[in-house]
């Protein structure tokens, strides 16, 4: 066996030598002899040995080496034991069809026991994949080229720059060409040998907000915290840290200890430990144990032990401070080249400006979406509370009713799009009916006692909530959005919004328009406004206030039902979902200014943007954001008790 290997190797070397020659000789070169030169390594591949083999094979330059390596990696290559030749294998029923590697012709069909399948493990597959990248970059299929680019961004290294650069000119697909160029920039910024190229690439990355670009720049500007007696010459220093402002004295001392420049300070726990080890006849260093609950007595005991030579001397109180003062703390770049790090830092700065701009844009989108949810939840209330002056604590339960209507409709109509189209008007009808029933039976009798409507509707609210619990159970019910509302609209790595929220925003806009139209342009709206301003006068003009009140209340409740469907699509449908919105809705209406649709819009916008704005400072804590938002509302009402849009003149009512 070794002899045969040697001979083949010699032959292969000759073949390779020929392969290096330009011209037709190279094209005719067959792969099989080159493979035979490494038969042993190829037959039982291991991660350590395969790399040199693959490199040598690729340098050989046979045109079909790429395909071979790919199929080899995919375990489609077998070796025939009799002559050691490699073949591609294809399944042919019970048999294995052997295909010649160079000609592609079927050689034979044999039993799978007659050939040795070569099993490449995942380590080997990785090595081959990396080695194949330059070849794959120019592959005819677009998918393979894209996969090669993926492979590069997963594990970038310097050797990929040249093939990537070559392949850009030959790239036909515009999208891939752009990707290649970006990837080239990323590679050049990290690995280019040519400083000018590297600096240019780094500069070009400035303002690129993709995570990859930021990652590369962050790697280039990575720093380490160091400590030294004096600032070292020639080090690439990012900044000097001031003890007291940039790091506390305790942290500084910990760093000194970590750098071996100081002894660890004695903690109270260590002191106690040492004292406990030196108890003699109920005393430590002459101090009775009973007194050792006093920290001063503990030090006294330790000093006594120290004087007796039992324990090492204790650090003087200001020793730590002195040690810290005698050293300088600084952050230095991991990379030594100041020009590169400065360029990368500059690029990173311009990136952070771009990021800040995009984050503001994202925040605006978030705020807009939250505002439209608040608006939807509150707009029905703006009618019943704002226009009629009725405090409907059951408003939240109307929202819940709408959401459950949507859920029930989905039980009967499996197609989500159609069921949504059915659910929206049905929810309106159900809650319109409930609102009218409630107005007729309860609220009508309480128009002169507004505070008592609050209590009566609260009674209805708890009854409805419990009823929903009895009917639908306590667990959350799904209200599934159709697929076309399922995704998200993403502008780049930072700015994005889910489609459902856009839909809610659109719905809020529609309702704003619809309501303004009803109130300002229709007969009903005219009568509503008349009854609101002066019921007696309206009645004497031939308007029936009872009917108008009923319809207005129904309208407000119906809109709550539709809001319920919308809210149910992105939040969970539970019997308690209404109570989550009721207080916020009231605040929205009050902050915006009672009796005015525009006011509700203003209130919802203010509260929505404010909450998102506060969340931005402390993203992990939405509860805190809500707390501060409510506090703000309380203070706001102090200064503008009538809300943002205060009604004036006769419309003000009082």
């Amino acid at each position: 066996m070794p002899l045969r290997t040697l001979i083949f190797r010699a032959l292969a070397c000759v073949a390779l030598a020929f392969a290096a020659l330009p011209g037709p000789a190279r094209a005719q070169d067959a792969l099989q002899p080159a493979l035979q030169a490494f038969a042993e390594e190829l037959a039982s591949p291991s991660r350590r040995t395969i790399e040199s083999v693959v490199t040598a094979l690729i340098e050989g330059g046979q045109p079909n080496i790429g395909e071979f390596l790919r199929r080899y990696s995919a375990r489609e290559v077998v070796q025939r034991p009799e002559d050691g030749l490699f073949f591609y294998a294809e399944d042919a029923g019970d048999l294995v069809r052997l295909i010649d590697i160079d000609s592609g012709a079927t050689v034979a069909e044999v039993s799978s026991r007659d050939v040795t399948q070569i099993r490449t493990n995942s380590g080997v597959q990785r090595v081959i994949a990396a080695a194949l990248v330059p070849l794959e970059l120019n592959a005819p299929e677009r998918v393979r080229r894209a996969a090669a680019l993926d492979a590069i961004s997963r594990s970038p290294d310097a050797s990929q720059i040249a093939p990537l650069q070559d392949s850009i000119a030959r790239e036909e697909d515009a999208t891939l060409a752009t990707r290649k160029e970006r990837l080239l920039l990323l590679l050049q910024a990290q690995f280019s040998e040519d400083r000018a190229v590297q600096l240019a690439a780094i500069e070009a990355l400035g303002g690129d907000i993709s995570i990859e670009a930021r990652g590369v720049l962050a790697r280039l500007t990575a720093t380490q915290t160091e400590v030294a007696p004096t600032l070292p010459e020639g080090a690439n220093i990012a900044r000097v840290l001031e003890v007291g402002t940039d790091l506390t004295e305790a942290e500084a001392y910990d760093q000194l200890v970590a750098a071996g420049l100081a002894e660890p300070a004695q903690t109270p726990a260590m002191l106690r430990e040492v004292l406990a080890q030196n108890i003699v006849d109920g005393r430590v260093g002459g101090v009775p144990i009973g007194r050792l609950s006093d920290p001063a007595a503990r030090i006294e005991a330790y000093e006594a032990l120290e004087a007796a030579g039992t324990v090492p001397p204790r650090a003087a109180p200001d020793e730590a401070a002195q040690a810290v003062a005698a050293h300088v703390f600084y952050e230095s770049y991991v990379l030594d080249d100041p020009e590169i790090t400065a360029a990368a830092q500059a690029a990173l700065d311009s990136t952070s400006q771009a990021i800040a701009a995009y984050q503001v844009a994202d925040l605006v989108l978030d705020g807009l979406s939250l505002a439209s949810i608040f608006f939807l939840a509150a707009i029905g209330l703006a009618i019943t509370f704002g226009v009629m002056g009725v405090i409907n604590m059951a408003h939240g339960e109307f929202i819940m009713m709408g959401a459950y209507t949507g859920y029930v409709v989905q039980l009967f109509i499996p197609d989500y799009t159609i069921s949504l189209l059915v659910a929206l008007p049905l929810a309106f009808l159900v809650t319109f009916g409930a609102g009218v029933a409630m107005e007729r039976s309860v609220i009508r009798h309480l128009y002169t006692r507004p505070l008592e409507t609050l209590l009566a509707t609260f009674g209805i609210s708890i009854a409805l909530q419990q009823l929903a619990k009895n009917i639908f159970g306590t667990q959350a019910r799904p209200l599934t959005a159709p697929d076309w509302l399922g995704g998200a609209i993403t502008f780049n790595d930072i700015v994005g919004i889910s489609t459902i929220r856009v839909a809610i925003f659109v719905l809020a806009l529609i309702f704003l328009g619809l309501l303004l139209y009803i109130l300002k342009r229709t007969r009903l709206g005219l009568e509503v406004r008349a009854v609101t301003q002066n019921p007696g006068m309206a009645a004497s003009m031939g308007i029936n206030p009872d009917r108008i009140n009923m319809l207005t209340f129904g309208l407000g409740s119906g809109i709550a039902g539709i809001a319920g469907v919308a809210i149910g699509l992105y939040a969970q449908v539970t019997s308690e979902m209404g109570s989550n919105y009721i207080v916020q809705s009231f605040m929205t209406v009050v902050v915006g200014g009672v009796g005015n649709v525009w006011g509700t819009l203003a209130g919802a916008s203010l509260i929505g943007f404010l909450q998102k704005g506060i969340e931005w400072f402390n993203p992990s804590n939405t509860l805190a954001a809500q707390t501060y938002m409510v506090l703000f509302v309380i203070l706001f009402i102090q200064f503008r008790p009538k809300g943002i849009v205060a009604l004036k003149g006769r419309a003000a009512g009082d």
């Binding site: 106690r272 609260f458 009674g459 008790p641």
Partner: protein, 394 residues
Amino acid sequence: MAKVTLAPRKGFLSENPSVLRFLGLLTVFTLIVTALSEGFGAGIVSTSFLKVLGMTLCLCLIAVAMDVVWGYCGILSLGHFAFFGLGGYGIGMWLMYARTEGIVRESLANAPIPATEGEVRDAIATQIFSVVGSTELPFIWGFAHSLTLQLLMIVLVPGLLALVFGWLAFRSRVTGVYLSILTQAMTLALSLYLFQNDTGLRGNNGLSGLQNIPGLLHLPQSTIALWFFWASALALGLGYLLFAWLVSGKFGSVVRAIRDNESRVRFLGYHVESYKLVVFTVTAIVSAIAGALYYPQAGIINPAEIAPITSIYLAVWVAIGGRGRLYGAVIGAATVSLLSSWFTGGGAPNIDLGFYEIVWTDWWLVLLGLGFVAVTLFFPKGIGGLFDYLVRKP
């Protein structure tokens, strides 16, 4: 009800016989319950029921306070349970600290070297705050080691909060519904604040184990429950007396006038805001005291107790009992909360309708809600209004 007497005033109690009657009834009730209790007498009233009765008395106290602020002064506050909760947190902090201190000292007693005060404090902090991932004692626990200081905090913290909030709200003339919504917002803000883990009151977990009174651990719960029952009854009696006295004199007349027509009182030269502020603050403090007595009997307090809905329930009790009469508030709170625990505790027999069985634990809230609507619609004077039919006024 309004009495403006120009004649020389007689004694307060002789002028208000209903106060004496109430105090008498309360004393009789306390004595009967004591005689029947496990800790002292026959054992017919179990310890857990005794605790329910004690807690009900505390709820009656806050209902009386609510009645003064709403029924007499016309401020529908939806925030008084926030003060109740603050009082509970106040006493809870001491209970939890002192009990943990006992446990910590016991476990450190076996150490070879006695612990310093700092070490004890650190160990207590670790014990209490490990559930929220912290080992530091927040600064608001600075007084928790001392019962006296903490008792002072129970009065001061809610009092100051009510003072500042009331001053802001009344000064800008927020009235009626808007004021209700504002107080509700305050409650919401407070409960959201307490729900956070990093605000130093154990967030969602709340304070627990409050039924174990440090220093009295050797006594059985039946005895402690009885003591708390007595304390609650005493607090209710004193609170009732205080408010009855407050609303009977000239101060009470002004307060009722504010309820009926605020502008007119202002035009008469009274400083309306000060009157409102005094009522709001005093009732807040009494609510906090009621809370401080309630939660050691309940054993646990968490931010959900302060959620806006509990304050609305308080208004419901007062409305059902009858506004504008102190005993009405007591009747309302006692009736609704006792009925509530009877129904939800499974005490009420289920009704089998043949096709459907009414399980009261599920249907009680529906009944309560509808019953409440009925009371608002048909009996605006509440249960207390029934007394007007019994007692013919000369």
